[in-house]
Every structure is written in structure tokens, then in C-alpha cells.
Amino acid sequence: MNSFRGVLLRGLAAGGVAGVLAGLVGLVVVEAPIRAALAVEQARGQVGDGHEHGELVSRGTQVVGGVLAAVVVGVALGALFATAHAGARRWLPRRSPFARSVALSAALFGAAALMPAVKYPANPPGVGDGSTVEYRTVLYLGLIAAGLLVVHGAGVLAARLAHLAEPVRFTAVALAVVAAAVVLLVVFPAGPDQIPADVPAGLLWEFRLASLAETATLWLGLGLAFGLLVDPATRRTRLTSA
């Protein structure tokens, strides 16, 4: 029997839990600035960016869709996370599965959410220029891919430095990760858009913090829930180790 199946199911479940939590955070803290931004957009009159025209989907449905997006993405990330957790034998091999899960999720939050949030911060509707969305997407995904390479590199480096005492090894890996992150943030080109003058700075700040709260809930929730589900200290059913 292949125990990866059990690990994968736990990943899906953990992702679902994290997605629901993130979706609720979105409902409570992200929806308000989105509503305010939509009001700003509406006050402009009709803008020709192809969004929000024709009422394809009502506002209420969009709010539901916003929560559902977090849940569906959470489940999908849960599957990927279970795969990465199983594949990343190098990642803190001597720690408990729970500690490895939380550490891996924190690293992935850094690469896939925090780094892009610093370089290409989230914007509410009515801020981005429709004509640059493809270029912005390439930059965003490129930075995430580069960040994931750094995470992978950190695992490889830690394994290479296995002969060093743990505090020395930890410091060396941390310094290398910080240096790599700084290089990436400097080397990647700036986003092309100007912030429209009618969008209040306070609204932007509120939205970006709220967005970060949602992504942090998603990633760390995933790491905590998955860790709880796979750690022998907490799980009820035994995974076969053969």
C-alpha cells in the first residue's frame, strides 16, 4: 500500500480548512476595502477596462465567489503542499512532521505571498491598468518562481552544510536566503502602473494589509492543519511506513 495516498488526502483536507479560514478573513477584513474601491471606481463613471460591465455576476455572488476562490485555491495548494512535504526529505529531516510542515508553509508563504506583496503589492479593483495586466502577471509569477527556487536552494544548502553545528548552519542558510531575497527584490523590474490619484492612500494600505492577512491565514493555516493531521503525536490512524 502506498501511503502517499493518505498524505495527499490529509493535504486536501488541510487545504480546505485553511481555505475556509482564509475566505472568512477575506469576508471580514478584505471585503470592506474592496467595496470602498468599487465606489471610487464607480464615481469615475464608465471606464473602458472591460471589468464590471454588463453585470455578468452580481455583487453578492462575487462576495461568495471571493470566499470560494480561497477554498478552491486552498484545496489545490493542499495537494501541492502534501506533494512538496513528501518530496522535500531534505527539509529539516530530523524535526517532527509537524515542525517540518509549519516551517515549509512559512517558507512558501515568504516566497509565494510575502515577496510578491513587497515588490508587487496587491491592489483593490480600480487601480490596475487593464493594458498592463499580462506584463504584471509575468513579473508576479516570475518572482514567485524565483522565490520557490530560493526555498529549494535553502534546503539543498542546509543539506550541504550538514557537517556544521546547527546554530552555525542555521545562520549561514538564513543569511543566504536573506541575501537572495534582497537580490531578487532589487533585480526584478518595478511594476508598470501608477496609482490613480482618486484612490486614497489609506484605502490602498488597508487593502494590502488585509490581503496579506488572508494569504498568511491560507499558508500558515495550511502548514498547521497539515502538520496536525500527519504528525504521529496527533493523528489517530496510522500511516503505513512500508
Binding site: I34, Q62, A86, T215, P232
Partner: protein
């Protein structure tokens, strides 16, 4: 017997990569679908998940 230090890191079966691809595709449809894969139906998908796309920090309009 596998290495006792990795009881929870089973070797990845080949189908694991298919699942991973499917998960990436689902993430793409929810967060990025702009008409590339689904054509006109994409507009509805795009608008339905629109709040989530912005809230999760994905570039949009």
C-alpha cells in the same frame, strides 16, 4: 523497509505528478483565467472569482 526517519515522506508515485498538475490547473483557472483556456465562459469564471483574485494579491485590473 524504508528508512525509519522518513515514515511520513513516502516515495512519490508517478500519479502524484498528475495530481500536482491538476492542482496547478485548478489554481490557474481560479486566479488567472482570462480567456486562454475557457474562452467566453472565462468571463463568468473571472467575474465570479474576482474578489478572491484581488484579495489573494494576484494582478488584475
Amino acid at each position: 523497509m524504508t528508512s525509519p526517519s522518513h515514515p511520513l515522506s513516502p516515495a512519490l508515485p508517478r500519479w502524484a505528478y498528475a495530481v500536482a498538475l491538476l492542482a496547478l490547473a485548478v489554481t490557474w483557472v481560479v486566479l488567472q483565467e482570462n480567456g486562454l483556456a475557457l474562452g467566453h465562459a472565462a468571463e463568468v469564471v473571472h467575474e465570479f472569482f474576482h474578489d478572491g483574485r484581488h484579495a489573494l494579491g494576484v494582478p488584475c485590473h
